[in-house]
């Protein structure tokens, strides 16, 4: 079965430190991957898609097919980055989500 794994439930860093939120997937085919973010009391919103290869709010993510990973990175974390981050894989029309990682950026 297709699966998305985010091994860390909670990641706590200090402001200005680099951040890497891990995501691994299993998929038999050419994967389409996303990162969604959910700030406190807000809705899930798209952060970035691997096919657009863009940087949003300083975050980037590179698809590594050899390692079946799509880790989310930011060189310098900000307090406003504190949120839940979900990695998701598109299968057909639906999204398959990972468990989510709560990022806490301390001042």
């Amino acid at each position: 079965a297709q699966r998305v794994t985010q091994p860390e439930k909670l990641l706590s860093v200090f402001k200005g430190a680099p951040v890497e939120l891990k995501c691994n997937y299993s998929y038999s085919g050419s994967p389409e991957l996303f990162w969604y973010v959910q700030y406190s009391r807000q809705r899930l919103q798209l952060l970035l898609r691997h096919i657009s290869r863009e940087s949003i709010k300083g975050f980037t993510a590179d698809l590594n097919k050899g390692e079946t990973s799509f880790h989310l990175k930011k060189p310098f974390a900000q307090e406003e980055d504190s949120a839940m981050y979900y990695c998701a894989l598109r299968e057909g029309g639906k999204l398959i989500f990972g468990q989510g990682t709560e990022l806490s950026v301390k001042p």
């Binding site: 996303f34 809705r43 899930l44 798209l46 898609r49 979900y86 029309g93 639906k94």
Partner: protein, 111 residues
């Protein structure tokens, strides 16, 4: 910027009662979805809907669940006879240019 809306934001019901969760997708979007998230667990796909019919459903989406687009704007999820384990956050989403846009969710509590 248009957003997906959902009502109610919270619903408390007794086991065995019927509930209807409502969603208004972004206009001009054609594909609609329901997901749910039980507390502490993953966001799980329930059903997708296109052209007034279900295009895909998960094994969670059994005979107790149904979806409907009763008019040009609303998209509803009905649970016929709620169980305790239906307690969850229910998210509606609509699709545009390969991106799913999510509503704020309805928190359903079954007592």
């Amino acid at each position: 910027e248009p957003e997906v809306t959902q009502t109610p934001s919270h619903q408390v019901t007794q086991m065995g009662q019927e509930v209807i969760l409502r969603c208004v997708p972004i206009s001009n979007h054609l594909y609609f979805y329901w997901y749910r998230q039980i507390l502490g667990q993953k966001v799980e796909f329930l059903v997708s809907f296109y052209n007034n019919e279900i295009s895909e459903k998960s094994e969670i989406f059994d005979d107790q669940f149904s979806v409907e687009r009763p008019d040009g704007s609303n998209f509803t999820l009905k649970i016929r006879s709620t169980k305790l384990e239906d307690s969850a956050m229910y998210f509606c989403a609509s699709l545009y240019q390969e991106t799913q846009y999510f509503g704020p969710g309805t928190r359903l509590l079954v007592l």
